[in-house]
């Protein structure tokens, strides 16, 4: 069964702070995705990747960087966090037609 883990599960930072969210998948899927989930907006795609060293721009990329260091690991970086980035963040990996989601990271920017 696909396994996607995320860390930390909860994070509080201040405006202007530097935050890194981590995601690891253990099924050697090529595609990995970062989403944010907000009430009234559903899930919105920030960045995605189809392999180590690759990065594709999603639909809401402003203020976010991402890096895929290995087949397993995908990181989301907020270098100057703002309150508008307070959200629930999900990572997912994809096998054929199905995306497997991690448990999420709740980020609060004060």
């Amino acid at each position: 069964e696909a396994a996607v883990t995320q860390s930390p599960r909860n994070k509080v930072t201040v405006t202007g702070g530097n935050v890194t969210l981590s995601c690891r998948q253990t099924n050697s899927h090529n595609y990995m995705y970062w989403y944010r989930q907000d009430t009234g907006h559903g899930l919105r795609l920030i960045h995605y990747s189809y392999g180590a060293g690759n990065l594709q721009i999603g639909d809401v990329p402003d203020g976010y960087k991402a890096t895929r260091t290995t087949q397993e690991d995908f990181f989301l970086l907020l270098e100057l966090a703002s309150p508008s980035q307070t959200s629930l963040y999900f990572c997912a990996s994809r096998d054929r037609d199905e995306q497997y989601f991690g448990p999420g990271t709740r980020l609060t920017v004060l």
């Binding site: 189809y50 989601f101 999420g104």
Partner: protein, 114 residues
């Protein structure tokens, strides 16, 4: 611009009733439509999906009805159970084109009362 729309935002049914969740889309190149189920504190998980070559897909108590001409689909949950209480997301993709990403709707929060 919301390319995938869902209604209603929230729905309450009694145990044993049929819940109907609606979804519509704009992009005619979309050809794959999964529904994801999300319980509180968890990530979404694939529930059932349909491709545009079919007009119906059934899996137990869950059925998708698809109308390509009207760009609409619906998820029917028959004999609803309290354990079905969750948020349901309709999504769409154009597999084979820009098909490496899913566009999600805003979700329907379903509550099934015992």
């Amino acid at each position: 611009q919301q390319q995938v729309r869902q209604s209603p935002q929230s729905l309450t049914v009694w145990e044993g009733e049929t819940a109907i969740l609606n979804c519509s889309y704009e992009d005619s190149t979309f050809n794959y439509f999964p529904w994801y189920q999300q319980f509180p504190g968890e990530g979404p998980a694939l529930l059932i999906s349909i491709s545009s070559v079919s007009d119906k897909k059934e899996d137990g108590r869950f059925t998708i009805f698809f109308n390509k001409r009207e760009k609409k689909l619906s998820l029917h949950i028959t004999d609803s159970q309290p354990g079905d209480s969750a948020t349901y997301f309709c999504a769409a993709s154009a597999w084979g084109g820009s098909g490496n990403k899913l566009i999600f709707g805003t979700g329907t929060l379903l509550s099934v009362k015992p």
